[in-house]
Symmetry: C2
């Protein structure tokens, strides 16, 4: 029997509640598909600031170092909101982890079941069959880490701040490959989003992406779109996209817009894949719900655990190669939700169930 | 009788058709409110590339130099789409004009009449009273013009591209003043959008904005939001904003998202205000519809002229201080449209009218 070793970082707010349910589902999937879980939990985010003085403490890093993947909850909350933006839990946990493990590829399915179109802010007739797209975001380059990044005082006494957006060929090629892999398993259409009419990095992005696709995936239909237009098209007709593919900053904005258009962040999972392979030969990765810590409902046992469960499924798929188990979990979530078991965020007139009951419904459909 | 001297740059596609109607409306407003128009037309965009080899030729620049404001149509089209992104008409016309006249403040009303909620992609219950917000975008700073902006070859043969995002105190303060002026004439709430958890420029932006508002407009309710969250909130509940205020790149994305959420780009105008005053003591400015050249319907006389008419109204307000005339035109457009005269883009079951008929309906309500 295979043992899947991963780090569990539940974090703050609803993180621990939904993580517990997700681990139950992963366990049951293991029973069914013949693997055992071996996980170690550690503090991350706000609770780690409180307990260890750092949002991503060394002790947590060691746990991650010894794992094949990270299952992440969510971090942050009102308690830490008065910290300066760069010390807030989400930023202070996620950016160092991305850097430490070169998590360069963020994969976010934008999925809305047809039965749930009520949850989307978009009119039903715009998305008669729900939404099914994927956003691939470059996650370690661009303006996030580019140097120089500094504030100085000018001769006249004013302050001036600078950020640098940088991309090089190899960075663009490796994320292009992720877009290709994703599209090959779907509709074989990739829309690459940039701002090539203004940015040098986008001119290079467009050129490298075009050449790389021509050479490595001529069967994929590649198109290009400016980011301002993409922000419009997502809100107008999301299903015109199959794979939406873009750089770090644009992906931050567009993937969140996509998330809200898909109705409930409580249903959306994400994978952040690393450049390194784990000991099983699969990419090391971090898996997390797209939503936040939902402090308003934390501790009440009513949060939607589906995003966390689906993040677990992505972990099985990408970092452990357990494709069947991943498919089964995704199907079980869909069946549970579409047959009417719903937490409050997606209840729409149905009697809402608790986090645990939602988990049980998924288990019984597995 | 006052004479209002401005440059008319109709551009490509539907530009000339809607411009003609807008000028008729401005003329009628002049008759009513006691001013005469004195305008000179010149080529801009694709037609200028064809006729003069440049999207913003010297001859057009001279016309603008001798004007108090610019009424702009729209530029671009399939004919020039194969040009490299940076040579395409929109980019090659707009960026040099913004630079030439230091058009640092982009003001975009996001207005959807309650009668037109069908036009929005958002569910009616999200916007029961339509939408009424304004986006203020910094337009000459940030990553658009920051240096260095270059592509180089690295030692290992790879290419690397760099863009630089820069802001200094005075640049942020002058656009903050525009946000304040706008908010004082509306709901007195400003939401400043940045990415202060990642960008140095955003940390400075947030600090300068906070201090400037405290000192100069303590009566305004100022809040801050990260750009990824703003992209979500706009699609979830646009009316939570009164004035949405942000830097150049974020404003490019968010104002377009706002535009599509407001239903029809054919209804949305914008003002780009310059640092210099014109000879009347008002800001020199460029006024243009938010939509594009609509090549699919160009030449058919069916385009919606309202955005162009409303751009004319913004010109009267900001560059000529003709507040009454501006208000009257805006009211006339609203009356014409809400009483049922609609071009095809916003007809929704009504019999669509032509560009000219739409203009006549506005005139008859003036
Ligand atoms: C917390 C923040 C630094 C982060 C980002 O901007 O990448 C977050 O918004 C995300 O998308 O995961
Ligand atoms: C054409 C382009 C350079 C321009 C911009 O990015 O500012 C356009 O998108 C706009 O918003 O006016």
């Amino acid at each position: 029997m295979k043992t899947l070793k991963f780090a569990v970082l539940p974090g703050d707010g609803i993180g621990p509640e939904v993580m517990e349910v997700a681990l139950n589902v992963l366990n049951a999937a293991g029973d069914k598909f013949g693997f055992a879980l071996e996980f170690v939990s550690a503090d991350i985010g706000g609770i780690a600031i409180d307990n260890h003085g750092s949002a991503f403490p060394d002790s947590t890093r060691e746990v991650c170092d010894q794992s094949e993947a990270i299952l992440f909850g969510s971090v942050g909350g009102p308690k830490w909101e008065s910290l300066p933006p760069k010390e807030q839990p989400e930023r202070a946990a996620l950016l160092p982890i991305r850097k430490a493990y070169s998590l360069y590829a963020n994969v976010r399915p934008g999925l809305l079941y047809p039965e749930l179109t009520d949850a989307s802010p978009l009119k039903k007739e715009r998305i008669p069959n729900g939404i099914d797209i994927v956003c691939i975001r470059e996650l370690t380059g661009g303006i996030y880490f580019g140097q120089p990044k500094a504030t100085t005082t000018l001769d006249n006494g004013e302050e001036q701040a600078i950020d640098t957006m940088v991309y090089k060929t190899s960075e663009i090629e490796r994320i292009a490959q992720v877009a290709i892999d994703t599209a090959m398993a779907r509709g074989r259409r990739v829309c690459s989003v940039d701002k090539a009419n203004v940015l040098e990095t986008s001119v290079l992005w467009r050129k490298v992406v075009t050449e790389y696709f021509e050479k490595n995936a001529p069967e994929i239909e590649l198109s290009h779109m400016y980011v301002d237009n993409a922000a419009m098209q997502l809100a107008r007709d999301p299903n015109q996209f199959d794979v939406l593919f873009t750089e770090n900053m644009f992906g931050d904005i567009l993937s969140d817009e996509m998330g809200v258009i898909c109705g409930s962040l409580g249903m959306l999972a994400s994978a952040s894949l690393g450049a390194e392979k784990n000991s099983l030969g699969f990419p090391f990765g971090l898996y997390e719900p797209s939503g936040g810590t939902a402090p308003d409902i934390a501790g009440q046992g009513i949060a939607n655990p589906c995003a966390q469960i689906l993040s677990g499924a992505l972990m099985l798929r990408y970092s452990f190669g357990q494709l069947e188990a991943a498919d089964a979990i995704e199907a079980a979530v869909e069946k549970a939700v579409t047959s009417g078991t719903r937490t409050g965020d997606i209840a729409f007139g149905l009697e809402p169930v608790s986090t645990k009951e939602m988990g049980e419904a998924v288990l019984s459909n597995l």
